[in-house]
Symmetry: C2
Subunit: 241 residues, 2 copies
C-alpha cells in the first residue's frame, strides 16, 4: 500500500504548471496582443500557483471521498498432485501482477515447508483449509486478491473456502492419474504406490472432483500458457475495470 509523498505532489505541481502557464500566456496574448505582458503575467502566475497547487494536492490527499475500494478475488487452483497447479498459478500470478492488482500468492508447498507437521488426514486437511480461508479473509479485508494453489481434494473444504471468502473462482485442473504419473518428476506417485506416502490424493486417498468450478482446464489438451490465458481472460472480464 502506498502513500503520496510530498515530493510527488511538488513534481505534479511543476508538471501541471508547464501545461497551465503555456495556456495562460496563449490566452493573454490572444486578448491583448502583447507578448511581453503575456509572458510577465505567465511568470507571476507560475510563482503563485506552484505553491497553491501543492497546497491543493496536500489538502486532497487528506480527503477520502472519490477513492474506490479495490474489489479482491480469490483464484483457487485445485487438482491432483502434478496436475499443473503451481506452474499455471505462477504464470497467472505474474501476469496479474503486471496489471498492478494488489496480490498475494499462496502455495501449499510454501506453507507445508514452513510448518512441516500439518498432516494429510481428512481432519488435518480440513483444518488447514479453514486457516487458509482465514488468511484469505484478512487479505481480502485489505483489497488484496489471492492466487492460491492447493490439492484441496475434499468437497467440504473447498465449500468452506467458498463460504469464507469473496469472489471465489475455482480453477479445476483436470488430469487423470496416469497423466500425472507420467509427469512425476518428483517421484511422489511412485512413493505413494509403494506405501511410503499416506493419504496421497489419487493413490491411497480420494480426490473429489469439483461440481461448481468457475473454470475447468483439461491439462491433457491445453498447454500451461493456454491455460493461463483462459484464466486471465476470465479475470479481465469480471474483475478488471
Amino acid at each position: 500500500m502506498y502513500k503520496e509523498t510530498n515530493i510527488r505532489s511538488i513534481a505534479k505541481g511543476i508538471s501541471w504548471r508547464v501545461v497551465a502557464t503555456s495556456t495562460t500566456i496563449g490566452i493573454v496574448y490572444f486578448f491583448f496582443d502583447r507578448l511581453d505582458l503575456a509572458i510577465a503575467a505567465g511568470m507571476i502566475e507560475t510563482v503563485l500557483k506552484i505553491g497553491l497547487y501543492w497546497a491543493h494536492e496536500r489538502a486532497w490527499f487528506k480527503v477520502k471521498w472519490g477513492r474506490k475500494k479495490i474489489e479482491p478475488f480469490n483464484l483457487w487452483f485445485t487438482g491432483l498432485p502434478l496436475s499443473g497447479k503451481t506452474t499455471i498459478a505462477d504464470k497467472v500470478y505474474k501476469e496479474l501482477e503486471a496489471l498492478s492488482i494488489p496480490l498475494e500468492r499462496l502455495d501449499s508447498k510454501d506453507i507445508r515447508d514452513l510448518i512441516p507437521s500439518i498432516g494429510f488426514t481428512r481432519e488435518d486437511r480440513n483444518r488447514h483449509m479453514h486457516r487458509i480461508g482465514y488468511l484469505i479473509q484478512k487479505l481480502q479485508n485489505n483489497s488484496i486478491s489471492t492466487v492460491a494453489s492447493f490439492v484441496s481434494p475434499y468437497r467440504e473444504s473447498r465449500k468452506a473456502i467458498r463460504e469464507m471468502v469473496k469472489n471465489n473462482i475455482v480453477v479445476y485442473l483436470k488430469a487423470d492419474v496416469l497423466t500425472c504419473k507420467e509427469r512425476d518428476y518428483k517421484g511422489v506417485y511412485e512413493r505413494a504406490e509403494k506405501g511410503e506416502l499416506q493419504n496421497f490424493s489419487g493413490v491411497n486417498d480420494v480426490y473429489e472432483e469439483p461440481q461448481h468450478a468457475e473454470i475447468i482446464i483439461d491439462t491433457q489438451v491445453s498447454s500451461a500458457d493456454e491455460a493461463a490465458q483462459t484464466i486471465l481472460e476470465y479475470i479481465k472480464k469480471h474483475y478488471v475495470k
Copy 2:
C-alpha cells in the same frame, strides 16, 4: 486499498479551477487594468484547463513514482490469560484505525473459535504461532500492520514471530496470577485449577516472561486507557510520520 475514481479527478479539477482562475483574473487585471477582458480571459482559461487538469490527473494516476510504500509494524500483545490483552489491544486498534494506518486485528479467540481443534500443547501452540507469523508476513507484504493478542507463553514461539516479521513490537502485559484470578469473570482459572482445562498458562503450564519486550505495562498500576496511551505514543514516535 483504494484507487482514484474518475469522478474524484474531475472534482479535484473543478476545485482547483476555482482557486486558479481567481488568481489569473487578478493577475490580468493587475497588468492591463481591464476587468472585462480579465474576466473573459479567466472564462476561456476555465473551459480549457478543466479538461487539461483532468487529463493531467489521470496521467499521474498511472505514474508510480513518488508514492512511498507504507512501512508495516506488528504489535504483539503477550501475557497471562486475563492480563488484559484483548481489552488493551482493542483500544489501541481503534485509535490506530483513526490515524488511517492500514491495519488488521488478530486475536487468539477469533481464530480458536473458527478452528476449535488447534490444541494447547507446547507443540500445538508453536505450530499455531508459525501460522500466525506466516499470516502476518503476508499482510506485511501489502503494508498492513497488525495488532495481535495471544497468550504466547513460550519464548521460542515469540522468537519465531520476531524472526518472521518486520518491526515487531512486543507488548508484555505484566500481571501476577493472583490479580488475573481476581479478574476471572470467565471462570477459566477456576476450571483450570479443578483440572478441567489442561495446559493453562499460569496454572498447569508455564508462562515464560519476555526478556526483550519493547513495551512493558504493569497492569496492576496502569489502567487500560493509560496502557493504550503509552503504546500509541510509542507507535506515533516510531512509525507515524
